[in-house]
């Protein structure tokens, strides 16, 4: 160490410089303590600021996804309720159909049941036209402001769209916030889904044919088949070209099934010679059309008993298909509600983690800052006291 002569000016300016820099450090630490932020701008921590911005964006997006999920949940719950109501309605319609499927009922009794069913058809249309909290139709798909179902007599038409809006419930997850009226009520299988059955209008016997089942889908050849009784017990099945597919014998007392090409249908009652029954490929039906068909059947005065029984049992089959579809849609709604719950629960923990990360980057470490502040205060005090005391020292004090 070499002794350096310190100029008086230097002594003073250096002492002031160091006091100023300590004061600036104290002001900095004090700002951290009072704002709670460890840096005030990007220059204080460029990477930290970029991270905090990114994390804040993720946090904000996550909060938006939770809001989206809440909206979707609200709509899905409304839809679920509508489907529960529709299920109850169809269940009671099914009970009425079973009650009507009794040859001993009088025409008046059937009309009474038909009147009740008409009431239920109107209620089902009302359910299909329910709206959400914003006045948008639940089952109109994209055509949210268009009333999806219009009833004209017993005929109900669909005016909604075939596509439904998606709602983003997480960064990578979108769910349908509803289902279209066409997929819920309209596009239902007719008959048993593969074929429909009908009794001939000119039948003179009392026999009816059930909706039937598919025993081997691979063997089924879609076509219109006619089952013709050549006498009270023998029948033949011909296809649309008139070729005989199969022949068989039917026992009216025991009932029996007609089987061909991988399907079978149950006959009951007494057929007369020449009676015919048809098996045709199934198209589509709707829950409304099923009820309307049932009403028409029950109101009819011209149908023979076989036709009435066949049509009622087919309606019951179609009601079951509608109920089954409602159940499937409700299961899908349940799945989507679960997805929302799961994504919201993930979002909650993600938001906590994000806030923790943001806090750990951006927030003041109070313990460290307080310690720093007190040591800076001590340093400043020491600098001030030593300057005050040293600046009094001068040889001139001793020269007289």
């Amino acid at each position: 160490v070499t002794d350096v002569s310190i100029s008086t000016l230097t002594f003073r300016t250096n002492a002031l410089d160091s006091m100023e820099s300590l004061q600036s450090a104290i002001s900095n630490t004090q700002e951290q303590l009072s704002t709670g932020k460890s840096f005030q701008n990007a220059a204080g921590n460029p990477t930290g600021m970029a991270q905090v911005n990114q994390l804040n964006m993720e946090l904000s997006a996550s909060q938006q996804y939770v809001t989206n999920g809440n909206l979707a949940t609200g709509n899905l719950n409304l839809e679920n309720q509508a489907l529960t109501d529709a299920t109850n309605l169809l269940q009671s319609a099914r009970d009425l159909a079973l009650e009507a499927n009794n040859a001993s009922l009088s025409a008046t009794q059937r009309k009474d049941i038909a009147t009740q069913l008409s009431q239920q058809l109107q209620e089902l249309v009302a359910i299909g036209n329910r709206t959400d909290a914003n006045g948008n139709y639940l089952f109109a798909g994209h055509a949210a402001s268009t009333q999806p179902f219009a009833q004209n007599g017993n005929s109900v038409s669909y005016a909604g769209a075939d596509q439904v809006s998606q709602v983003q419930i997480s960064e990578n997850q979108r769910i349908s916030a509803g289902d279209t009226g066409s997929s819920v009520f309209m596009s239902l299988p007719a008959g048993n889904g593969t074929f429909t059955t009908a009794a001939g209008a000119a039948n003179t016997g009392t026999a009816s044919i059930g909706p039937g089942t598919v025993t081997s889908p691979a063997q089924w050849v879609p076509d219109t088949y006619t089952i013709t009784f050549t006498d009270a017990t023998d029948y033949k099945v011909t296809n649309s070209s008139g070729a005989t597919v199969t022949t068989g014998t039917y026992d009216p007392t025991a009932g029996g099934t007609v089987s061909f090409n991988g399907i079978q249908a149950t006959l009951s009652g007494n057929p007369a010679s020449g009676d015919t029954f048809t098996v045709a490929p199934a198209g589509q039906s709707s829950a409304f059309a099923t009820l309307a068909g049932l009403i028409t059947t029950l109101n009819s005065t011209t149908l023979n008993p076989g036709q009435t029984a066949t049509q009622i049992s087919q309606s019951i089959e179609q009601i079951d298909a509608a109920l089954n579809n409602f159940g499937n849609v409700q299961a899908s709604i349940g799945g989507r509600l679960n997805a929302v719950t799961a994504s919201q629960s993930t979002a909650q923990s993600q938001q906590t983690a994000l806030q923790t990360s943001i806090s750990s980057i951006a927030d003041t470490d109070y313990a460290a800052a307080t310690t720093k502040l007190s040591s800076e205060e001590v340093a400043l005090q020491a600098a001030e006291e030593s300057y005050a005391s040293l600046s009094k020292l001068s040889l001139f004090n001793y020269v007289s």
Binding site: N41, A43, Q63, A362, S394, L395
Partner: protein
């Protein structure tokens, strides 16, 4: 006896002068730039006697200042560096503070904008949600406009500070030249004018605060001052003038020129250090890049949102209109151009667009594009005609007229974008939440495929019509328009959309041969369709910038951290240079400053010497009196 008296008198005079010098040192103990002075005593010439030479007292040979030019240069160098870094840090901190607010910054505003799109997606028929989105669009526009106008304001403050600094430099150099003249004159008389030299050296240190300078000392004591790579600011008693001149491309950005001897030369690129250097760095490293980057973000937001708007249908059933307008490409011709050429420049690919500035120069009839920011040459395709524009860096350049060789243009692709950014939509119903098209499966289809989505991917290529997609054998397909003309064909792969005419159709399930799907204008009744607004949120989050590597929000965020890094570095440099400057100043002051204790000791020394000398005169008088008394008895 006469010798004794004259010797004593020489001592009295010398010590008085030495005390004068000490007194002056004490008086100037706190004067900045003052160099302590020393009275240099020498023995007076001796008189030859028989017994040898007898000294005849003491003389003050000279008064010199304790000055160390090497340390002074260190002070000036560190002063220039500190001043430059500090100026850059101050300028950068303005932009940093502007961008840094994490709750109201650009990233937060963009996220709110995206969130309000999500709200519209959740409730596409809600006018309130649509109005909220328009409000957020306004907020984005206001923020970008406000950033741009603040940067412009900082820019004009910077230009006026350049003017002020140049005036200061001229005033200082004029004074230095005048002091040089006086110093040379005094030196010619054989004296060293310490006070004038202190003043001049102090002025040169002050000059270093404005710009970095080098000095050489002439034999007559005058000091020459140079700037940059050797442009003389002061030569002897002559000072050159600095002036500010309008930039060749952008007259509002001032350049620094030096004029002397009847010529004026632009020395902007030579200027370094000091406030002037700091200001020029701030302009080229902070203000201009920040304005360009904010412009790039503006272009990106407007392009992405507008394209998606045009791919959608608004609540009235019409095709969506652009949501934003954005400022165009700025083309600035060199004011020295002599040819008749002019340019029309438009933006093309968003992913190729950069935030750099470009120079297009014609040399011997050949146009050459240079990235001004990186200094690199950029290859262009095309021939520059309207039919085949030059294509490069996301720009499309059409030249017209004929350039003189050397004529050039500055092309700023994004500089003016943020200033011209505004919301064009006026009504909430104009937000195109629904897709412009809808797809339907043919009623007679036998396959299990349903339409999962129909959308427009390129509104520029879309020709509004009803198109039929017919599936043939082996999943082949053809697309025909309503006139029966085939517009596309291909083989359908499950999961890959069928694309044609800027539209695409996505199917789920497996189509059968003979199935048809129709893609045509969406129905105005589909007010609950949110597919287009959802696509908009996806497009804003996608990596569309910088060659498809960066999203808009990531670009906005990286601007914040880049400015933060520049500010932090400048602040750190400023702190380091301040310390260096303090150390250099301390070293210089310790070497040439006044130490009062030392002066007190010196004062005592000469005071005592003076008293001793007076005692010798007293002794001489006593001796004389003794002799007289002895003679007179």
């Amino acid at each position: 006896m006469a010798d004794l008296l004259s010797t004593s008198v020489s001592g009295l005079l010398a010590f008085q002068q030495a005390l004068d010098v000490t007194s002056n040192n004490i008086a100037n103990a706190s004067t900045p730039g003052y160099s302590a002075e020393t009275a240099n005593l020498v023995e007076a010439p001796g008189q030859s006697t028989g017994i040898g030479f007898i000294g005849s007292g003491v003389d003050v040979q000279s008064i010199t200042r304790t000055y160390n030019e090497y340390l002074a240069q260190q002070v000036r160098g560190s002063q220039a560096s500190y001043s430059s870094s500090n100026t850059l840090a101050t300028q950068a901190a303005q932009i940093d503070n502007m961008l840094s607010d994490s709750s109201t910054g650009l990233t937060a505003t963009l996220q709110s904008f995206i969130n309000s799109m999500q709200s519209v997606a959740s409730t596409p028929t809600s006018t309130a949600a649509r109005q909220a989105l328009l409000n957020q669009a306004q907020a984005v526009a206001q923020q970008l406009n406000s950033y741009d106008s603040q940067i412009s304001q900082y820019g004009s403050q910077l230009e006026s500070q350049l003017n002020g600094d140049v005036a200061q430099v001229n005033s200082i150099t004029t004074n230095i030249a005048s002091l040089n003249q006086q110093i040379a004159a005094e030196s010619a008389n054989g004296q060293t004018p310490n006070q004038l030299m202190d003043q001049r050296d102090q002025l040169i240190t002050q000059l270093s605060q404005y710009v970095s300078v080098q000095t050489t000392t002439e034999s007559n004591g005058a000091m020459d001052v140079y700037i940059g790579t050797g442009q003389a600011l002061v030569t002897g008693s002559t000072a050159s003038k600095l002036t500010t001149v309008p930039g060749a491309y952008n007259p509002t950005e001032l350049n620094i020129a030096i004029s002397g001897g009847g010529t004026t030369a632009d020395i902007t690129s030579e200027i370094s250090g000091g406030e002037l250097g700091g200001l020029l760095s701030a302009r080229s490293q902070v203000l201009d890049p920040a304005r360009n980057a904010i412009g790039q973000a503006s272009v990106a937001v407007a392009t992405i949102v507008n394209q998606q708007q045009q791919s959608g249908m608004d609540l009235t059933g019409a095709q969506g209109q652009p949501m934003f307008s954005v400022g165009g490409v700025q083309v600035l011709p060199d004011t020295n151009n002599t040819g008749s050429a002019s340019l029309t420049v438009t933006r093309g690919s968003l992913s190729a667009l950069t935030s750099d500035d470009y120079k297009l120069q014609s040399t011997g009839g050949v146009w050459q594009l240079t990235d001004v920011t990186t200094g690199k040459s950029i290859a262009m395709t095309g021939s520059g005609t309207a039919a085949s524009p030059f294509q490069a860096a996301g720009l499309s350049i059409v030249t017209s007229g004929s350039p003189a060789s050397g004529d050039s243009f500055l092309i700023q692709p994004t500089a003016a974008a943020a200033a011209g950014f505004s919301v064009s939509l006026t009504s909430p119903s104009q937000i195109a939440a629904a897709s412009l098209v809808q797809g339907t499966a043919g009623a007679a289809n036998t396959g299990g495929a349903t339409v999962s989505a129909a959308s427009i991917t390129n509104p520029g290529a879309w020709v509004s019509d009803t198109y039929t997609v017919s599936i043939g054998a082996g999943n082949s397909y053809t697309v025909t328009n309503s006139g029966g003309t085939q517009v596309a064909s291909g083989t359908y792969t499950s999961g890959t959309p069928i694309s044609f005419q800027g539209a695409q159709l996505s199917l789920s399930g497996t189509p059968a041969a003979g199935d048809t799907f129709v893609v045509g204008p969406n129905s105005p009744a589909n007010t609950g369709d949110n597919s287009n607004i959802l696509a908009m949120t996806g497009a804003l989050a996608a990596s569309t910038l910088n060659g498809g590597t960066t999203s808009v929000t990531a670009a906005a965020n990286s601007l914040v951290s880049q400015i933060g890094v520049i500010t932090q570095q400048a602040q750190n440099n400023a702190t380091a240079q301040q310390t260096a400057n303090q150390n250099a100043t301390t070293a210089l002051n310790n070497s040439s400053g006044v130490n009062l204790d030392k002066e007190a000791a010196t004062m005592l020394q000469f005071q005592q010497a003076y008293q001793a000398m007076a005692q010798v005169i007293q002794a001489s008088q006593t001796m004389f009196t003794s002799l007289i008394t002895a003679i007179h008895g």
